[in-house]
């Protein structure tokens, strides 16, 4: 595959790995958080940890939109799917995630709800056009990458005069979550959670640019490298972070120059700003309430907001007491430290947020990395 294989080349990887081994100083700590689940997936799928020296450790952050969605919001989606005449359209990996009552959209579907898997919000708009006598609700989730397409779908539905299309908005914001991790008492006070740098997700920055990270680098004195999702991108980013640590720098660097600019995509940002507004606070699974970390549909587009169209009860569900996801997402624990991991909590029966999607730290570790425990 052209333009993909080049970024998975084993020989280039060897070269980068030896540069990392050469430049990482013995006795210096290099604990880097890859924020995004896409990076977590790449790290496990390609076995990147095997290429790193012992002092370089990757901590898997909360950047999986499927994982961090609180169970109450999933219960909300299930509730909507069960309303008479509703077609609930969702991205595929949201379908099997259990809500508070251990129900999922797949189970609701088995019980008769009309749940459809879509690849894009545009497919949901097409469903609404093709089913004028039904209400189509798009289960909108994701970070800054999937937000502009939802905005566009709302515009498209408006243009087509579709009174039967709404979005159930669960879009969340990357910078707020990173702040929350860095602000948490464990990280700030004790230094018990050593985070020596961040890998930022390139696809988010194709929209928001690299600029929003300037604040972290400066305020928290941590280097940030924005990186692509191919394994060579990740290795290159790790090398760039090591160099910053070695030189005492804390800057925002861009590894993904092939698509990320400082200011991002002005058109997408404008579209999002015109369609959505910040919520004062939003619950993240594993992190709790995070201020100004999610979006809702603006009043002027309220006709397309499922939370205005339908009466939606509040669903509040607490995570399992023994679940260590909160600590794992902050780098305090690894999946293997959790008593539920691999016993009560597996990809088939996920209990904590990190296990619900292949992007989550625990699921990636379970699916691709279990053999490591033996080593």
């Amino acid at each position: 595959m052209k333009y993909i294989d080049e970024f998975r080349d084993g020989d280039v990887a060897k070269g980068l790995a030896s540069a990392i081994a050469h430049e990482a100083r013995p006795g210096t700590r290099y604990h880097f958080m890859e924020f995004c689940g896409g990076h977590t997936h790449a790290i496990f799928r390609y076995g990147i940890q095997d290429l790193l020296p012992p002092g370089v450790r990757m901590i898997h952050g909360p950047g999986c939109p499927v994982c961090v969605l609180p169970m109450g919001r999933i219960d909300g989606a299930i509730h909507l799917a069960r309303q008479h005449g509703v077609i609930l359209a969702s991205y595929g990996d949201m379908l099997r995630v259990p809500g508070g009552g251990r129900e999922s959209l797949l189970k609701a579907k088995a019980q008769g709800a009309d749940v459809r898997m879509v690849y894009s919000p545009a497919d949901a708009v097409a469903l609404a056009a093709a089913n004028p006598d039904r209400q189509v609700v798009f289960f909108a989730i994701g970070f800054e990458t999937t937000t502009p397409p939802t905005a566009l779908a709302i515009r498209q539905a408006h243009k087509l005069g579709l009174g039967n299309f709404t979005a159930y908005c669960n879009h969340v914001l990357t910078p707020s979550a990173i702040s929350s991790i860095l602000e948490s008492p464990e990280v700030r006070d004790l230094g018990t959670v050593p985070l020596d740098g961040f890998i930022g997700p390139a696809h988010v920055s194709t929209v928001i640019g690299s600029q929003p990270y300037d604040y972290f680098a400066e305020e928290y004195r941590r280097p940030v490298v924005i990186a692509g999702f191919e394994p060579l991108d990740v290795l290159q980013a790790i090398l760039m972070l090591i160099r910053q640590v070695n030189e005492g720098r804390f800057e925002v660097e861009n590894e993904f120059t092939r698509a990320v600019t400082r200011d991002g995509n002005a058109k997408a940002k404008k579209l999002v700003a015109e369609t959505f507004e910040m919520k004062r606070s939003f619950e993240w699974r594993g992190l709790g309430q995070v201020p100004y970390s999610a979006l809702r549909i603006k009043k002027e587009w309220g006709d397309f907001d499922a939370e205005r169209r339908f009466v939606l009860p509040e669903f509040n569900t607490e995570d399992h007491k023994a679940c260590a996801c909160g600590a794992i997402l902050r780098g305090l624990k690894t999946p293997a430290d959790c008593t539920l991991f691999g016993t009560a909590c597996t990809p088939e029966h996920p209990i904590g947020s990190c296990m619900v999607s292949a992007e989550g730290a625990c699921a990636a570790y379970y699916t691709f990395g279990r053999q490591r425990r033996k080593a």
Binding site: M1, I4, R8, G10, A13, K14, A17, G37, G38, H41, F44, R45, Y46, G47, I48, Q49, D50, L51, P65, V66, Y91, G92, D93, M94, L95, R96, L106, R116, M117, V118, Y119, D123, I141, G142, F143, T145, T146, H203, P231, T346, P347, E348, S357, A358, E359, A363, Y366, T367, F368, G369, R370, Q371, K374
Partner: protein, 340 residues
């Protein structure tokens, strides 16, 4: 009363036991499957068997869409069951075919499906000797469901089984992975995309006959259908109480299949195949078996992809082309595309 094979559809009467059903059976099934045992028109097929071990299997086919690039539900229903017999090293002899038809199915579609079955059976050298037809009301089926059962004879001295993999054995695959799954997905209603790939649906008994003739002591034969290579190797690892180590670079996957999986966020190792087999044999016989497989048109891309290891955890691991190691795990639940 003549069947309108051009514009007619399946009606409840076609399953009612009356003249309409007799006509359907005669004009579509008997005419296509045409063989002496079926032509006796009894409720069962009666035949003599030679001495030795027999293999028997059954499988139901509910695939959507009914027609996909490289095959349809009919050819698949023959290939799948023939292959299940072949994975015991058996030479398939006879098949049965049960049809559950949904009211409203175009008779032209049914005929196409049945003709494909007949052709597939002919190519595999197996006869469809008995059958059954039922019709369900519209909305209670999905066009057509087919069940086929089969019986085959196992050559003396051949006994492949999922519990016979031993540490040190070689793991071989007969060709590229994921073709069937990707071809079918490319035609799903909500997922249609253009990809230049055909299902690999094909009968493997010819290939297996040569393999077991040359290396009768093959330890394991299995076709990696649903769940793909990953699920099948994990099954074998569990049955045999062993681990496996695969080499990603050695696993054949066609460019378009890799690209489609990349695009959909799927792993080719989890994607279904309908015309490939996994063989596990003693290391010293592996090169000879590989040469036999490669000499056969249905095994021309065969490769040795890994080794069986001693492992109490029964893990299947993969040395990635990138230089790392990862687990090759079962799929959790249904295969669903990732959001990002």
């Amino acid at each position: 009363m003549k069947l309108d094979l051009e514009n007619g559809v399946v009606e409840m009467a076609h399953g009612g036991g009356g003249r309409a059903m007799a006509k359907l059976v005669e004009d579509i099934f008997v005419r296509s499957f045409d063989n002496p045992l079926l032509n006796q028109r009894n409720d069962q097929a009666c035949f003599d068997m030679s001495a030795g071990r027999l293999a028997m299997t059954t499988d139901s086919y509910v695939i959507q869409p009914l027609f996909f690039p490289g095959g349809n539900i009919g050819s698949l229903a023959v290939h799948g069951t023939v292959n299940d017999l072949a994975m015991a090293g058996a030479a398939p002899l006879y098949l049965s075919a049960g049809f559950i038809l949904e009211e409203g199915l175009p008779l032209s579609d049914l005929q196409k499906i049945v003709r494909s079955m007949a052709l597939a059976a002919q190519e595999a050298g197996v006869q469809i000797v008995t059958g059954d037809t039922k019709v369900v009301e519209k909305g209670k089926g999905d066009g057509v469901f087919i069940n086929t059962a089969g019986i085959g004879r196992i050559p003396d001295g051949v006994a492949p089984s999922g519990d016979r993999a031993r540490p040190g054995d070689a793991v071989l695959i007969s060709g590229s992975l994921g073709d069937h799954g990707v071809a079918v997905m490319s035609r799903r209603e909500n997922l249609a995309f253009e990809v230049d790939i055909l299902s690999d649906s094909q009968a493997l008994n010819g290939l297996v006959a040569q393999m077991v003739a040359a290396v009768p002591g093959i330890h394991v034969l299995r076709d990696p259908t649903r769940g793909g290579l990953a699920a099948t190797l994990n099954e074998i690892a569990l049955q045999s109480c062993v681990g496996m180590e695969l080499d990603e670079r050695a696993i054949p996957v066609k460019g378009p299949v890799r690209a489609a999986c990349e695009f959909l966020g799927l792993d080719p190792l989890n994607v279904a195949n309908e015309g490939k087999l996994i063989a596990i044999c003693a290391d010293e016989e592996a090169e000879r078996l590989l040469a036999i497989m490669r000499a056969h048109p249905k095994g021309s891309d065969a490769a040795i992809i890994g080794r069986v290891t001693e492992d109490a955890d029964r893990f299947v691991t993969l040395k990635t082309a990138f230089g790392g190691t990862r687990m090759v795990d079962w799929l959790a639940g249904e295969q669903l595309p990732r959001i990002c």
